[in-house]
Amino acid sequence: MRLRNVRLVHFRNHAETAFTCSPDVNVFVGKNGEGKTNILEGISYLCLTKSFFAASDATALQLGTEAFTAQGSFEAADGLTFDTVVSYQGAERRKVMTVNGQAPESMAAMVGQFPVVILSPENSNITFGGPGDRRRFVDLVISQASRGYLEDLLEYRRVLRQRNRILADNRERPGSVTAALEPWTESLVNCGARIVARRIRFVQEFEPEVRTAFGRVAAVNEAPALEYRGTVELNGDASPDAVRSAFARSVERVAPQEQRAGLTLVGPHRDELGMTINDLELRGYASQGQHKTFLVALKLAEVAFLRERCREAPILLLDDVVSELDPERATRLLTEASSLGQTFITATEATMFDRTYGATGYRRFSVRAGQVTADE
């Protein structure tokens, strides 16, 4: 997937910005606060219908304006064009998306249509943060590759809230809840087992990609590894049916604790993705450099994974990565990125890119106070 052009109107500090993209590497150079990241955020709206870091759409409105628009033309590998518009009305808090003039059946239906991989300073919580941050990473990657997985996640979240309500009410007014819980437990297990089985399969498919990417960026002999650490006790068999019966047994086993806690205690919402280098936990043992290399490897692996699953090379957004990495690793990442597909990069200066790609090997834009100009 490639973006041909992008237009942003009243989007953060961009009153109106329009530019034509290079099908390969695009670099946005400017000082801090000039609006470089906002461009990547705009592209994120086009691909995912939302920001990659801000929780609320309203924060993307330019101050003093009523509505913003992000517009872009995608070109798929088979040559088809998708003119995409995402607009947000501040007063009504309404977000509308159209693709070739038509509204998709839902925002969720758009996830994965325009695959995108984002590496930004916020992502450091994938390796530094809690289990929830790693689950979110795994869920976003699989969701882009599988619509059914996203539907399962949404369904599971709903079932979980319903089931937790029964447990919470019961803690306030104790009584027998077994009968009331049963249908929700069954739904939880059916839907949750599909999620757990898919995640386990994902980790198996994803780990080799991480190892390959890690080797390319780090150039040291270290062995990164991923491990799915579930709250459901499995005996080696991770087929959906086996996970389902194991899940059912686990829920039964923790029933007394659940009633005390007033919460659902086992399931994909409590699972963890373990990350190690040379069998040592990343969290607690790894150096800053190892953390960063691991993160870059995860993202490059994500590109490879999505390219295969979506049959379409994802767009790669690299926000301020050069200042985060040492020059050697940064060069390797940039070389790697340009071979993967269309890339959008923000940076405070261009030296690194001239050195890596040659002065004419990429398209450079200057960003100043929300104005974007292509450098000749």
Partner: protein, 199 residues
């Protein structure tokens, strides 16, 4: 500050309570009413009151009706050995439109949803069990909505009704008629494969 009048605001507020009606539409409707001839407004007002006064729930199936029991329960042409369990009266209307189903109905009045405070005792489940005791039934069809709450209700009823020993079925979940396989979303397609039937 009031730009219109208190009566208009009151009517708009009342419209705003209706499902699917936002603030702007509510105002537009209120102003539309103002423009209508007096007789049309009388007809509308009477229709609103009539709905509340005349319509009741069938004592057998809990469908909406003006005569108790309802036309379906009273009809000698219906197959009394099959009961189709649905969530709401409009589900009955939807199935009736197919002209395929000749059995009876049972309207639960919703689906299980602890978040909304709806438990089994808030649905007409005891009424269904009592009905099964008095009325010989060969089959119960569960036709609840294909969402999280409908699914949980189906599972609940299955556990409850299995021991009764009556043939228990649920409507299939799958592909819409007239669509192409390749355009079906993955979730629907995987459910359709899950619920495949032997030929």
């Amino acid at each position: 500050m009031l730009y219109t009048s208190e009566s208009i605001e009151q009517l708009a507020a009342a419209f705003g309570q209706l499902p699917g009606i936002g603030r702007k539409t509510a105002h537009r409707l209120a102003l539309h009413i103002l423009k209508l001839p007096r007789e049309d407004v009388d007809v509308l007002a009477r229709a609103l009151v009539d709905v509340k006064e005349k319509v009741r729930y069938c004592s057998v199936c809990a469908n909406i009706t003006e005569n108790d029991p309802c036309a379906i329960c009273a009809s000698p042409k219906r197959d009394r050995s099959v009961i189709c369990v649905v969530e709401e009266p409009n589900d009955v209307m939807a199935i009736e439109k197919t002209n395929e189903y000749r059995g009876l109905y049972h309207v639960l009045g919703g689906a299980l949803s602890p978040l909304d405070g709806i438990g089994p005792e808030d649905l007409r489940i005891t009424e269904l069990l009592r009905r099964l005791e008095t009325q010989p039934t060969d089959e119960i069809i569960l036709a609840l909505n294909p969402n999280v709450e409908g699914e949980a209700t189906t599972l609940y009823l299955t556990r409850l009704l299995k021991p009764v020993g009556i043939r228990l079925t649920r409507i299939a979940r799958g592909l819409p008629v007239g669509s192409d396989l390749e355009f079906a979303d993955e979730a629907t397609l995987s459910r359709a494969i899950e619920g495949r039937i032997a030929l």
